[in-house]
């Protein structure tokens, strides 16, 4: 998914989260709550069947392809960030960019990138690229 860029799509990101939470220590039968069940082959194929965001045949490296994709999505302008605490959007939200959100909250820029749209909290914050009422 990283090589072909699917990880940058919401579907790919969700799939990645599912995979990450079902491998290694989560897969053991002795894991707390039992062995995690990973995504089915059908789900994997559904995501991988989506047109790849990266044109790997261009011969460009992953880094360059990721940069190109990001610019094409308008990264120069910045992406909006909606921040929630306990399910309630905080006062200054939405922020116009990852940078603005991270600066206002005193967090690293990378934190927003890592946690956005993952439904995982960081220091009590939840980050989304669209208002919570919009289905992800």
């Amino acid at each position: 998914m990283h090589k072909f860029g699917h990880y940058l799509l919401p579907e790919g990101r969700n799939l990645l989260i599912k995979i990450a939470s079902s491998i290694n220590k989560f897969r053991y039968s002795t894991a707390k709550g039992g062995a995690a069940v990973g995504p089915t082959l059908e789900i994997l194929n559904t995501v991988l069947d989506i047109d790849a965001p990266f044109n790997v045949e261009s011969g460009l490296s992953h880094t360059l392809l990721a940069q190109q994709f990001s610019l094409a999505r308008g990264s120069r302008k910045g992406f909006p960030v909606y921040v929630y605490v306990n399910g309630v959007e905080i006062e200054s939200s939405p922020f116009p960019s990852y940078y603005a959100a991270s600066k206002a909250l005193g967090l690293s820029n990378r934190v927003i990138f890592r946690y956005i749209d993952t439904s995982r909290t960081y220091k009590g914050y939840l980050f989304y690229s669209a208002p919570l009422s919009v289905p992800k």
């Binding site: 090589k3 990880y7 995979i19 290694n24 053991y28 460009l60 490296s61 992953h62």
Partner: protein
């Protein structure tokens, strides 16, 4: 261990492989292939053990003589082997028993000196590496990015350097990306635990070199997402009445 000198007991040698209970099939395969040893389960672990001295001498030792270990575990193996050979030569004299006890006192967790490991020639090949990866490596996802890493006690760092050098030379398996970055490991040392790890996280390296390399060498599906199998091999011997 009971002290053989004190209560007139004999020495017992054990070779053990301990895995998570989910990997019992692997140990059953090993047992069936070697035709020796027993398997027992305890809590979350399953253990394959060879204790019959004839099996140790005729089956286990020849394997590790032919396919040498590469980490500092080789030092424990050498001492264990030396002790086994002393026993193999005949009834134990007081001197030979003392020699064995001295060897045992400096083995495994009691080992203080690793100097002789510097003289050990490390030879990495693909099949050895595949087995090592099964036991010691992790294919993981951190911050939603994939990585591959191998960790070892710092005194076995040489083997990690050798693996890193070996992986730099594996052939390119996916050729669309021009000048794809060959695998370069990133080393880090955790001082509190004296564990050194080498990680590969460059997407092009992982996809274009390491993934095709693992497939070509017949890595099982378990070796993919589930390589965090704790393969621990112990050599020990203890007194038995």
């Amino acid at each position: 261990m009971q002290n053989p000198q004190k209560n007139n007991t004999s020495l017992k040698f054990t070779f053990r492989v301990v895995l998570h209970i989910d990997d019992r099939d692997v140990l059953e395969y090993i047992q069936k292939t070697l035709g020796v040893g027993t398997i027992h389960t305890s809590d979350a672990c399953v253990t394959f053990a060879v204790q019959r001295f004839e099996d140790i001498v005729q089956v286990i030792i020849p394997i590790f003589d032919t396919f040498p270990l590469q980490t500092t575990k080789v030092l424990d193996y050498k001492d264990w082997r030396t002790a086994a050979m002393i026993k193999f030569q005949g009834p134990l004299s007081k001197d030979s028993l003392a020699k064995i006890l001295l060897l045992k006192a400096g083995m495994n967790q009691n080992r203080k000196s690793f100097d002789s490991y510097c003289n050990h020639t490390i030879e990495i090949n693909a099949l050895w590496l595949l087995g090592f990866v099964e036991g010691e490596a992790t294919f993981g996802i951190k911050h939603l990015a994939p990585y591959f890493s191998i960790a070892q006690k710092a005194n076995s760092a040489r083997v990690l350097y050798a693996i890193e050098a070996f992986l730099r030379k594996i052939p390119l398996g996916f050729t669309l990306t021009k000048n794809s970055q060959y695998p370069i490991g990133s080393f880090s040392l955790r001082e509190t635990t004296a564990v050194i790890s080498c990680s590969w996280s460059n997407i092009d390296s992982l996809h274009d070199y390491i993934l095709p390399g693992a497939r070509a060498r017949g890595a099982s599906p378990r070796c993919g997402p589930r390589a965090r199998v704790s393969l621990v091999v112990y050599h020990s011997f203890h007194g038995k009445k």
